[in-house]
């Protein structure tokens, strides 16, 4: 019978553990503590036991009965406390202020600046209205040079134009500072190109210039490789190939591997596998002479990258015009850290 009583208690504790409301508690109470509980039955069976056994079982029965009553009381108190507590519906919306967003071009520009700052570059500025001398002549692009074809300019006066690239800042920086130095110059540029998916009459560039004795193509390559890995990620490959700019010699075009096909060629990269991101090279001796430097004593490298193009590649933006429309639906994609 002891065994039976203990089993009855185990059943009780199990059922009590399941209780979550007062209704359920009421049911369990009726089953184990009321007149309908098993205790009256146990008591009547107790009477027919031998005296010695009756004493032991009677004691056990009493113990269990008290324990059940106590546990029920405790549970009731716990439920009551729960009910008094305020119910928190944490699924309701938070109270907040709406967030704006940075422009993707400025996000990428800031990132480029931060990378070069960390590599020891200083940041300089140049004017957007430039003279023909700084924009072209000093950069070894004389009047009537075929290289001017690619840079159709907006003129304000005979010799005054909107800079077609940030490269005139190279000359300004060389006149302002004394080597050795590492500089980047971010800013707006203008070319007489009609708007289409990849052209805009206004765009942004970041110019880079490093001048010190003994600077070589390896220094250029190393610097650009670090930059590309930081901006685009470790897995991107960088390719240098020869090109032509009147103000660098040797000149190079820098490509990065397509993020989709990793250099194999796919539709996204026009089957080329590589995407052009900047022009670069060693500073042309004539540019040094034009800036009043002796090309026998110092060397340097320069690069210029298009921020729109880099931003389009980084975020997969298909149309350059989106940058200047400033549609909130577009801008709000850049609320999150990208």
């Amino acid at each position: 019978m002891i065994e039976e009583i203990e089993q009855y208690f185990r059943d009780f504790t199990q059922e009590l553990a399941q209780v979550a409301t007062r209704d359920e508690l009421h049911r369990v109470k009726g089953k184990y503590a009321g007149r309908k509980s098993k205790f009256p039955v146990f008591l009547s069976r107790l009477k027919i036991l031998p005296l010695e056994e009756r004493r032991v079982v009677g004691q056990k029965l009493n113990e269990i009965k008290l324990l059940i009553e106590q546990l029920l009381k405790e549970k009731e108190a716990a439920l009551l406390k729960e009910e008094k507590k305020e119910v928190l519906d944490i699924s309701l919306p938070g109270k907040r202020e709406p967030l704006g967003a940075f422009h993707p071009l400025r996000i990428v520009m800031d990132e480029i600046i931060a990378i070069f700052r960390s590599l020891g570059f200083r940041v300089e500025e140049g004017p957007e209205i430039e003279t023909d001398f700084f924009n072209f002549e000093a950069l070894n692009i004389p009047r009537d040079h075929p290289a001017r074809d690619a840079q159709d300019s907006f003129y304000l006066e005979e010799n005054l134009l909107l800079r077609t690239h940030t490269s005139p800042a190279q000359i300004r920086v060389m006149r302002k500072l004394a080597p050795p130095f590492r500089v980047i110059v971010p800013g707006k540029c203008y070319r007489r190109d009609a708007f289409d998916a990849t052209h805009s009459p206004m765009f942004h560039q970041v110019e880079g210039l490093v001048v010190a004795p003994g600077i070589s193509m390896g220094d250029l390559k190393g610097t650009i490789e670090i930059f590309v890995r930081r901006l685009f990620g470790e897995e991107r490959k960088v390719r240098f190939r020869p090109s032509y700019f009147p103000f660098t010699e040797p000149s190079a075009e820098v490509d990065i591997s397509c993020s989709i096909c990793q250099g194999q060629g796919c539709r996204a990269c026009g089957e080329k596998g590589w995407l052009e991101i900047m022009g670069a090279g060693l500073v042309h001796p004539q540019v040094f002479r034009n800036a009043g430097y002796d090309p026998e004593k110092v060397q340097g490298f320069a690069f210029g990258m298009g921020v729109e193009r880099i931003t389009m590649l980084k975020f997969g933006i298909p149309d350059i015009r989106w940058f200047f429309e400033n549609d909130v639906a577009f801008l709000s994609s850049f609320k999150a850290l990208r």
């Binding site: 202020e97 709406p98 967030l99 704006g100 967003a101 940075f102 422009h103 071009l105 400025r106 600046i113 020891g120 940041v123 004017p127 957007e128 209205i129 009537d144 075929p146 074809d149 907006f154 003129y155 304000l156 006066e157 909107l162 050795p180 130095f181 590492r182 707006k188 203008y190 190109d193 009609a194 805009s200 009459p201 206004m202 490093v210 010190a212 003994g214 070589s216 193509m217 390896g218 220094d219 190393g222 610097t223 240098f240 190939r241 020869p242 090109s243 032509y244 010699e249 040797p250 000149s251 060693l282 001796p285 060397q299 429309e325 400033n326 549609d327 909130v328 639906a329 801008l331 709000s332």
Partner: protein, 783 residues
């Protein structure tokens, strides 16, 4: 420059690389290959050998019957272009229709100039593509502005030869000359624009369609076949890069060719049928009476070689690149010839190319070639020699290219090289005018050796201390603040329309002389037009947001003086809201608040800013202001005219603020060390309410309070206005201010009596002005 694989092989008989690898060499040596297109794509339909069955003369034309198997077609052909009856001619068949010049992009015409003759070994119905074009591909190679020499098969083949170490073979140029007493002469009166002019008289020509192999080469290069003489000059230009021109000798007046500058308003009808009005200084070829060609650009129609031509004067010359470029641009023409002269042709290659053309003419037309060349001028001397130390090459390139490899590369590219004591003595070939100094030689070696072999490093040199990014930090802090206030950062074009600027009431602005469109004519003197455009775009698309800001340059002018400065433009937008989610709408004081916040970021207390009401043509009267910092204009702002919004279908209300950054940056100078006051003694708080006339500004009350504070050196920690009230129970024409004063001393606990005395002093001070009544002392009508 388009070049086919087979054409490259004419110069490189040992070339065996697949086209993909040839393209890779071009790319690695600095020539982007835009496309590799199968030769098949240049032709239309299936190409067959057809038989010319019959040709019936009809005036200048012949009605020709051409047969391919069971199919027959009849076509009107200019009589000169009809071969012998029974010969094989080219027929393209597409959708059952015969095409006699089956070339992509060629329009179908009623009459055609000629039937394309085919070699005699072909049988009717033979597949011409398979027999004569074959498995060829065409590379579209982008040639940079410095490499005029590579606007030729020869130049591109030389690049491949240097890379693959295979021989470069020039095409045959041999012919026999006869003595002809033609009487032609050349007079070069413009040696400064044409250092070298030469030509040859060639007689007994018969003008016919070119043989198929020439037509094939021209079509694959994207040129139209005309007739054998013109086609040969064009083919040689493609091969050698030297533009040539053939004049119909019979049409040259008085048998004299003058190379001279044009006279003002002289006229010429060029080959394309356009009449060109010339300016003084443009270079022409003329006969005794008139210009007969635009030198180096395009020939004249009067002396064009046509079916009736029997003798030609073949011109090969060296025209000044700047002169050709200027004239071509001024007249709006760009031709295969002009683009080559602009970038420079090989001065020592002139006669070589001309000889190749003469040889082809002889081979093709049984021509008689007059002995000798008619010459005006001489080719310039071009034997530049450059000393290049080997360690200069490896140092600049950062790669260990061997002396042997360097020499082999340069020789492959046509340079003469000797090595002396570690120094390369390099003779620059006549076609490489772009190579001027040692660094150019470094590039040549690096290019062919491969940029992939450059060993990366990071520049290490004496420490550059860098500069203080003050402006950068300042603008970043401001931008961050505005984004967190719910605004979107915009970037707009600096070029705006003239109407937009005039609407702002700005008179002095900078205009672009050569705008692309009327929307982008003026350099913005304010950020307003661009940002307003952003609001309009978003309103039109049904977008909603709290507003926009932009940081960028504006461009200002005073008469002939131009300058640019950086500004911040802010638009706040009260767009129509749903009733579910109401926020406190923006107003003029939000603008003021934003400017004060920006001031706080910069370190300017709002007390330093002076505000004044000021009218602007695009802002609502009474809701516009200007703000000054130490007597200089810092910015302006206000509520945008509702009529302007209606005009552009923008719903809601707009508030605009524009601030100059330069004065902010100047003020925000670093002052160290900072003074900290972190007193832990308790503070005492007192509120005061006052009533004034509605015309009395808060600043009157505030300055009065501050005066008393200074007078008694009160330990005032905070002074804030927390309520402005009017209406009942205040009488008409009155308003009230309630403000809080928080006192705290740095070094002691303030005594109650001390604070009371201060508050009393402030109250007395206010009362003494005669314009301020204490709320507690005011007797209101119903009290």
């Amino acid at each position: 420059m388009r070049v086919s694989y087979q054409l490259l092989r004419r110069f490189l008989p040992d070339l065996s690389l697949p086209p993909g690898e040839v393209a890779a060499i071009f790319l690695n040596q600095g020539f982007v290959v835009e496309s590799i297109v199968s030769a098949r794509d240049f032709f239309v339909g299936k190409l067959y050998a057809g038989t010319l069955e019959e040709a019936k003369r009809e005036g200048a034309f012949s009605r020709c019957t051409v047969k391919v198997g069971p199919k027959v077609d009849v076509v009107l052909v200019s009589s000169w272009g009809v071969p012998e009856i029974g010969s094989k001619v080219l027929v393209g068949v597409e959708n059952g229709v015969f095409l006699f010049l089956p070339v992509s992009g060629e329009k179908q015409k009623e009459t055609i100039d000629f039937l394309v003759p085919l070699p005699t070994f072909l049988e009717e119905g033979d597949d011409v593509f398979e027999a004569l074009v074959g498995d060829d591909v065409v590379f579209d190679v982008e040639v940079t502005a410095n490499r005029g020499d590579c606007l030729s098969v020869l130049g591109l083949a030389r690049e491949i030869a240097a890379s693959c170490k295979i021989p470069l073979v020039l095409p045959e140029a041999r012919y026999l000359e006869t003595h002809i007493d033609h009487g032609f002469r050349v007079e070069n009166q413009a040696l400064h624009l044409c250092p070298y002019y030469t030509g040859k008289y060639i007689a007994s020509l018969s003008i016919r369609p070119s043989p198929f192999w020439i037509i094939r080469d021209l079509i694959l290069a994207g040129m139209r076949p005309i007739n054998n003489v013109v086609d040969i000059t064009n083919l040689v230009m493609l091969e050698m890069g030297q533009p040539l021109h053939a004049f119909d000798a019979a049409k040259i007046g008085q048998k004299t060719l003058y190379v001279r500058e044009a006279r003002e308003n002289e006229r010429i009808v060029t080959l394309d049928g356009e009449e060109r009005v010339l300016r003084r200084g443009m270079l022409v070829i003329a006969d005794a009476l008139r210009p007969i060609a635009l030198a180096g650009i395009m020939g004249g129609r009067d002396t064009e070689v046509g079916p009736a031509t029997q003798a030609v004067f073949l011109e090969a010359a060296l025209f000044d690149r700047v002169s050709v470029r200027r004239t071509a641009r001024a007249l709006g023409i760009r031709t295969e010839a002009s683009s080559r002269f602009e970038r420079g042709v090989d001065p020592l290659g002139v006669l070589q190319a001309a000889s190749r053309a003469v040889a082809l003419l002889v081979e093709e037309g049984c021509a008689e070639v007059a002995a000798g060349w008619l010459v005006g001028g001489e080719p310039p001397h071009t034997n530049r020699e450059i000393r290049v130390p080997l360690d200069f090459v490896t140092g600049r390139l950062s790669c260990a290219v061997s002396p042997e490899e360097s020499m082999r590369i340069l020789e492959g590219l046509g340079f003469g090289v000797t090595l002396e004591d570690g120094v390369l003595l390099v003779r620059v070939p006549s076609w490489r005018s772009d190579v001027r100094e040692a660094i150019d030689i470094v590039e040549e070696i690096g290019r062919v050796h491969g940029y992939r072999n450059i060993v990366s490093s990071f520049p290490s040199f004496p420490f550059d201390p860098g500069n203080v990014p003050r402006r950068e930090s300042l603008s970043r802090r401001i931008r961050e603040h505005l984004v967190h206030r719910g605004l979107y950062e915009a970037v707009t074009l600096s070029l705006v329309s003239e109407g937009d600027v005039k609407a702002l009431g700005i008179e002095d602005y900078i205009k672009v002389l050569n705008p692309l469109s009327q929307d982008h004519v003026v350099l913005r003197p304010s950020l307003f037009p661009g940002l307003f455009g952003v609001v309009r775009t978003n309103a039109r698309r049904g977008r909603r947001c709290l507003g926009f800001f932009e940081l960028g340059h504006v461009f200002l002018r005073k008469e002939s003086e131009y300058w640019e400065e950086e500004r911040l433009g802010v638009f706040l937008w009260n767009y129509p809201q749903s009733s579910l989610w109401q926020r406190i709408p923006w107003d003029v004081f939000t603008l003021k608040g934003i400017l004060e916040e920006v001031g706080e970021i910069v370190g300017i207390s709002s007390r330093e800013l002076e505000w004044g009401e000021e009218p602007f043509s695009f802002l609502e009267d009474g809701k516009a202001f200007a703000v000054y910092l130490r007597q200089t204009l810092l910015g302006f702002g206000g509520k945008v005219l509702p009529s302007l919004l209606r005009e552009h279908d923008v719903e809601g209300e707009l508030y605009y603020l524009e601030v100059s950054l330069d004065p902010l940056e100047k003020i925000s100078s670093v002052s160290l060390p900072l003074e900290f006051s972190l007193s832990s003694f308790p503070s005492v708080v007192r509120d005061i309410a006052v009533v004034v006339d509605v015309t009395t500004p808060w600043s009157f009350v505030a300055s009065c309070v501050e005066k008393e504070v200074q007078k008694y050196a009160m330990a005032l920690e905070e002074f804030i206005l927390f309520d402005v009230f009017s209406g009942e129970p205040l009488p008409q024409g009155k308003k009230g201010f309630a403000f809080r004063l928080v006192f705290r001393a740095p070094n002691r606990t303030l005594a109650e009596e001390e604070v009371n005395a201060w508050v009393q002093a402030i109250k007395e001070g206010l009362k003494q002005t005669g314009r301020v009544v204490l709320r507690e002392e005011m007797i209101l009508s119903h009290e």
